[in-house]
């Protein structure tokens, strides 16, 4: 009797547990659906950009950007309300991944912070101009990681992964390495909304599938594009302190004021990891290219190729999290360095001494714009 009661209790518990999980999943699913149907509160920059590109529900869409620049534009398929909301949410995720401008970051950004370690990372730090950086004249800028241009060139062979890399998998890599975080599911809204926004950008800029545009990716800087003085982190440190430390901090750990992020970390626990393509020891051409074309903000293209390589080399010598494939020993080493080095560096700072190093003597290379 007692044995059969025990068995029955077990069965009831299993059924109740399964039913509970099912109800929880249904509830979560319903919540996500409600978010999809809810109006989107745009960040100020997204409101400006999407307003300028006249994103609205309509049968047809014509790019005001193309019309203004070429005097003609092609009518393409318009967007439904659902499509518009997906694009708006995608724009918000790029502009404010951590949700610092959102009333309810978890709901409004699909809880993107689930996939990020640290509090600094935002897509917009690399994909500036919300993935569509333009100069004052409205010209798209070379090597500015334009998301629309990336979309039209997606699915090509990627030399780093050895894959025909879809746009969605590329986004996953950003979360894993550039944000030192975790891989979202390919079907997660956090991925599909960014794809929707990137596709809209390619429509707004009238980009064609499979064409390469200058603004796509990074304008990489190999050593052969310098006078070949050799990359030098001592020189890099001097230039960093002069040009970058004001915003990114003396140890490149980023700068926060009153709880708001002013400039993201380039090293330390909030920075990209050693498996990221931004890491100089992994790929030595990408971070210099990013620095030259996008930094310092407002003074882009003012650093020489050698200066950019030196800064990148210096930054990459600072401690940062290890990538997943680096193994536990490297992870431990980086963790120790991240913990021990900052106080040590503060201790060894000369009392009353100037932090301003002398300007490095560097032969100007011909590639300087």
């Amino acid at each position: 009797m007692s044995m059969s009661t025990g068995k029955l209790t077990k069965i009831v518990l299993i059924v109740l547990g399964s039913a509970g999980l099912y109800l929880l999943a249904t509830h979560q699913h319903g919540q996500r659906e409600a978010i999809r149907q809810a109006a989107v509160a745009l960040t100020p920059d997204c409101a400006e950009k999407l307003g300028r590109y006249r994103l609205a529900r309509s049968e047809r869409y014509q790019s005001p950007y193309a019309l203004q620049r070429t005097g003609a534009s092609i009518a393409v398929r318009g967007y439904s309300e659902e499509d518009v909301r997906a694009i708006q949410r995608g724009c918000n995720i790029i502009d404010d991944t951590q949700g610092s401008l959102a009333k309810d970051p978890g709901r409004e950004r699909w809880n993107a912070t689930r996939f990020i370690r640290g509090t600094h990372s935002s897509c917009d730090h690399c994909h500036q101009g919300i993935g569509d950086k333009q100069d004052a004249g409205g010209n798209r800028m070379k090597g500015s990681l334009n998301l629309g241009a990336s979309w039209v060139m997606a699915d090509m062979y990627d030399r780093f992964t050895g894959l025909l890399l879809p746009f969605e998998l590329r986004q996953m890599q950003c979360y894993i390495n550039s944000s030192n975080g975790y891989k979202p599911n390919i079907a997660d809204d956090v991925i599909s909304d960014v794809t929707a926004y990137s596709r809209f950008l390619s429509a707004a800029l009238e980009l064609k599938i499979g064409n390469h545009y200058e603004e796509q990716g990074i304008d990489e800087i190999p050593a052969s594009a310098t006078p070949k003085q050799g990359d030098d982190y001592v020189r890099g440190e001097a230039i960093y302190k002069k040009k970058c430390a004001n915003c990114h901090g003396p140890q490149a750990f980023g700068l926060e004021t009153n709880g708001r992020l002013v400039a993201p970390a380039l090293a330390g626990p909030n920075a990209w990891n050693t498996q990221s393509r931004n890491y100089f020891y992994y790929v030595s051409t990408i971070l210099p290219g990013f620095i030259c074309r996008n930094m310092p903000l407002g003074q882009e293209n003012t650093l020489s190729n050698q200066e950019c390589r030196d800064i990148a080399f210096y930054i990459s010598n600072l401690p940062r999290p290890a990538g997943d494939r680096n193994g536990p020993m490297v992870a431990l080493q980086q963790q120790i360095l991240m913990t021990v080095l900052p106080p040590l560096m503060r201790l060894t700072k000369p009392a009353g001494g100037s932090e301003e190093p002398a300007e490095p003597v560097l032969e100007r290379d011909q590639s300087r714009p």
């Binding site: 869409y61 092609i74 009518a75 393409v76 439904s80 062979y157 596709r199 429509a203 599938i209 499979g210």
Partner: protein
């Protein structure tokens, strides 16, 4: 006391041992030959795609390649091979996606091409990721392909990562590039 061993029984034991050693050698050789034969058959004679990095050239591929200028992406390469596999999947679906369709060579229709032209797929690709009013949700190109396998092709749903889905997308992308389509491009008359 042990019974005396006759020279005859010694010789018998030796013969048995030799026969056993010889049988083992033959078995080993047979196994090695079998494995080598299987490997050679798999790579050279089976025609099974999983064993070869090249893609089989089906009738019409060379014309397609020329018509849609696939050489823009290189004479050969990962992308071109994927497009070629996409071509095979679109025009010979029953043969190349046999895991995901119950259609056979004798059935009509038995391929994607029976309903869609290459250009249909390219336009479908640039107009994907939009709301489908019938389904009430946004549907990606990959989802449409998977629905085709399950529905009209009377088969099963592949995962989103499967080459039978991916290579049709790449095929559509290559055609869209040739037609110089942008996002949301409409056909004349649409």
């Amino acid at each position: 006391m042990n019974p005396p061993v006759s020279p005859d029984s010694d010789a018998r034991i030796e013969r048995k041992q030799e026969a056993r050693a010889s049988a083992t050698r033959i078995k080993t050789l047979a196994m090695v030959g079998l494995i080598a034969g299987f490997v050679l058959w798999a790579h050279l004679g089976s025609g099974i795609q999983a064993f070869r990095s090249e893609v089989s050239s089906e009738p019409g591929w060379e014309n397609f390649r020329a018509d849609y200028r696939i050489n823009h992406f290189g004479e050969d390469g990962q992308f071109v091979r994927a497009v070629q596999n996409g071509y095979n999947l679109v025009y010979y679906t029953h043969k190349y996606a046999s895991r995901f369709t119950r259609k056979t060579a004798g059935d009509r229709p038995n391929s994607c091409a029976a309903c869609h032209t290459a250009e249909d797929l390219a336009y479908g690709f640039v107009n994907s990721d939009r709301l489908d009013p019938k389904l009430g949700r946004r549907v990606s190109f990959e989802d449409r392909v998977r629905r085709c396998y399950a529905g009209p092709m009377d088969g099963f749903v592949p995962t989103i990562y499967d080459p039978v889905v991916r290579d049709i997308r790449l095929f559509a992308r290559a055609v869209a590039h040739h037609l110089q389509l942008g996002e949301g491009a409409l056909r004349r008359g649409d």
